[in-house]
């Protein structure tokens, strides 16, 4: 892997993501031509100038749809997908386990439990988001408190299995509470709760917090990518090569958890992206973290945007939860890639 090859990969994925974004903005129950999409996006920037006369009443409606309905939704999909894929790639390195994914350490379970509590209590949407965020943080702190020694232990032996088990047990605990909540929830709220659990992008406002979290997460971890490459070969090797293993582990855990928390707070627990996207990229492009982390963000973002496009157009006017599409598409694609891999 060279810097030039990585840049080429990122460019291709960025173009792909952009194409999916344009498609998400253009397609739907009211189709909007790509040129009109561009015009609609640029319209707010031209405020104060004379409104172009080509925009009739219908043009304004299309612009409204693009700006206030489709753009926030597509950007929420992109940022959540990017955050989840990034978190998945990071946790697979941290735990040195190919089956690791963003939800394996219980962050999503904590978020879901708190969010469902809020929904049962009939709280407003922002309260549900806030409790999801609080739940994610509670779970992060809980795992960190219990497995602190595992992260910090600078010994030569593998620290990961116990961290993984601690997280997995806590995730299982949250799962039990979620089942309990769903069992006792009033009939009328059940549908909303299930949608939240599967992952749903019905937000409404521009997802600034998720976009900011994505930017911060990338800034915090991409400079450490060469160290992550070394860490993958084992703690002893990494320490012998001058990598501060304990500090690096904490950094990975925090970035991955906070990225997951931001994604889950924005769109619920969208499944499979964090597991499948990093693996697909690894199978096709190799496992160099310097290339993989930004690539995972771009591909994960494009994948969730694309899945959401399908979710709201497949059986329009009805909408499916985006998590159903990611799971339905992710499982066979992943299996195919895994089984058809030649060495």
């Amino acid at each position: 892997m060279t810097a030039r090859r990585a840049a080429a990969i990122w460019a291709v994925l960025a173009v792909l993501a952009l194409a999916v974004l344009v498609a998400s903005l253009a397609l739907g129950s009211v189709p909007v031509a790509p040129a009109r999409v561009l015009a609609a996006l640029l319209a707010p920037l031209q405020d104060g100038q004379a409104t172009p006369y080509t925009h009739g009443a219908s043009g304004d409606l299309a612009g409204e749809i693009v700006r206030t309905l489709r753009l926030p939704r597509a950007l929420a999909g992109f940022s959540c997908g990017a955050l989840l894929a990034l978190a998945g790639a990071l946790l697979q390195v941290l735990l040195r386990n190919p089956l690791a994914e963003p939800y394996v350490l219980g962050v999503s379970g904590g978020a879901a439990t708190f969010a469902l509590f809020a929904m049962m209590a009939g709280c407003a949407t922002w309260m549900v988001d806030a409790s999801a965020c609080a739940g994610a943080f509670a779970s992060i702190l809980l795992v960190l408190g219990l497995a602190r020694g595992e992260l910090w232990r600078g010994e030569a032996q593998q620290a990961s299995p116990r961290l993984l088990l601690t997280g997995a047990v806590i995730a299982a605990g949250w799962g039990a509470v979620i089942t309990l909540l769903l069992t006792v929830a009033p009939e009328g709220r059940l549908r909303g709760m299930l949608f939240w659990l599967t992952g749903d992008l019905n937000g409404g406002t521009l997802p600034w917090s998720a976009l900011a979290a994505l930017l911060l997460a990338l800034l915090a971890i991409v400079p450490a990518a060469p160290q992550l490459n070394v860490l993958l070969r084992g703690d002893a090797t990494a320490r012998a090569l001058g990598v501060p293993v304990a500090r690096l582990r904490l950094r990975i855990y925090l970035v991955a958890s906070l990225a997951t928390a931001a994604a889950v707070t924005t769109a619920g627990t969208i499944g499979f992206i964090g597991l499948v996207v990093p693996h697909m990229l690894r199978l096709v492009l190799g496992n160099d973290q310097r290339m993989l982390l930004p690539a995972a963000a771009l591909a994960g973002g494009a994948a969730v945007m694309g899945a959401d496009l399908v979710a709201r157009t497949a059986i329009a006017p009805a909408q499916l939860p985006v998590g159903v599409i990611t799971a339905l598409a992710g499982v066979p694609v992943f299996l195919w890639m895994l089984l058809h891999r030649r060495r």
């Binding site: 010994e155 060469p226 084992g234 002893a236 320490r239 012998a240 090569l241 990598v243």
Partner: protein, 309 residues
């Protein structure tokens, strides 16, 4: 940093004590390993060979005493600069993800990376050269997960070599290797240790360093179970008895039938055939070796091989 690279390496243990649980592996060990020496660390299972190497590499703090590299305590070295100065091959790497052989070897260039951490042409050249040295040139694109244990081990040794540190600590480098690869690896490593420093810096400032310092600057320590290969390729040996004691010195003074029999708790004898000589286990059934028992210690812990060495 480059000022350091041209100086002969010296590693010294100062009153180092190593413990494993309640057991004392090494007590109050003081010794300096000089440049140009090739050390074999020998001893029975659980005697503390791995623990000692990890301590000398700075991965583990000694239970008492300290270790100095070039006169500076290991704990005072910045990690990356330490990695430019000493390389460690840990026992048996485990690969969780697939990666090409070249990428795995390039990882050991980490201490030399700068900027955004992408390898430069010289890093690649170092990796190719190290692979070629161990007969792995055609393995460059292979997946490490598809390698046999011996092939993986040679890749790991090549990777350690390509770190270009003048002090190499190798934990069981010969594990999983068949005989001709064991000898091939030891020949390559011995040649490396005898070579003078050939860093790019030295090449750019030619005359002065080349002429003034033909003296050896590198040092190699490896743990090994084959005492005969050690006698043939090492210049010095450190024999651990696993009960606190250690004997250090020129290899033929340390890996003797008497000392080795005592450390391993089994009578060994030296046989000669012309120039070739070998330490072999004595036949226990014969009476004269049964009476060689005085060499064996009464300490029962020395015979039991419990925790990993």
């Amino acid at each position: 940093m480059s000022d350091h690279l041209s100086v002969a390496v010296s590693l010294s243990a100062q009153r180092v004590t190593l413990r494993a649980g309640a057991r004392t592996l090494l007590a109050d060990f003081t010794h300096t390993f000089h440049a140009g020496e090739i050390w074999c660390i020998a001893g029975p299972n659980g005697a503390g060979k791995t623990t000692l190497l990890a301590t000398l590499a700075g991965l583990r703090r000694p239970d008492a005493g300290h270790v100095e590299l070039d006169g500076v305590r290991l704990s005072d070295w910045p990690p990356v600069r330490l990695a430019q100065r000493r390389a460690l091959l840990p026992q048996s790497a485990h690969d969780a993800f697939s990666a090409s052989v070249l990428d795995v070897v390039l990882l050991n260039r980490f201490p030399h990376l700068s900027g955004w951490g992408w390898e430069r042409a010289e890093d690649r050249a170092a990796a190719y050269a190290a692979l070629a040295q161990f007969g792995l040139a055609e393995y460059v694109a292979r997946d490490v997960l598809s390698l046999s244990g011996g092939e993986r081990q040679r890749v790991a040794i090549a990777a350690t070599l390509c770190q270009h540190a003048p002090l190499m600590l190798l934990d069981e480098p010969l594990a999983h290797l068949d005989l001709h690869h064991q000898i091939g690896c030891l020949e390559a490593l011995a040649a490396w240790a005898r070579e003078a420093e050939h860093t790019p810096n030295a090449a750019q400032e030619p005359t002065q360093q080349r002429t003034q310092q033909p003296t050896p600057q590198r040092s190699l320590l490896f743990s090994c179970h084959d005492l005969n290969l050690a006698r043939r390729f090492a210049t010095h040996a450190l024999l651990l008895d696993g009960a606190g004691g250690a004997t250090a010195g020129p290899v033929r003074d340390v890996l003797t039938p008497e000392l080795a029999s005592r450390a391993f708790g089994y009578p060994l004898t030296l046989i000669r055939d012309g120039d070739a000589e070998a330490l072999v286990p004595a036949l226990r059934a014969t009476p004269q070796f049964g009476s060689a028992a005085p060499h064996r210690r009464g300490d029962p812990s020395s015979n039991s091989s419990n925790s990993s060495s």
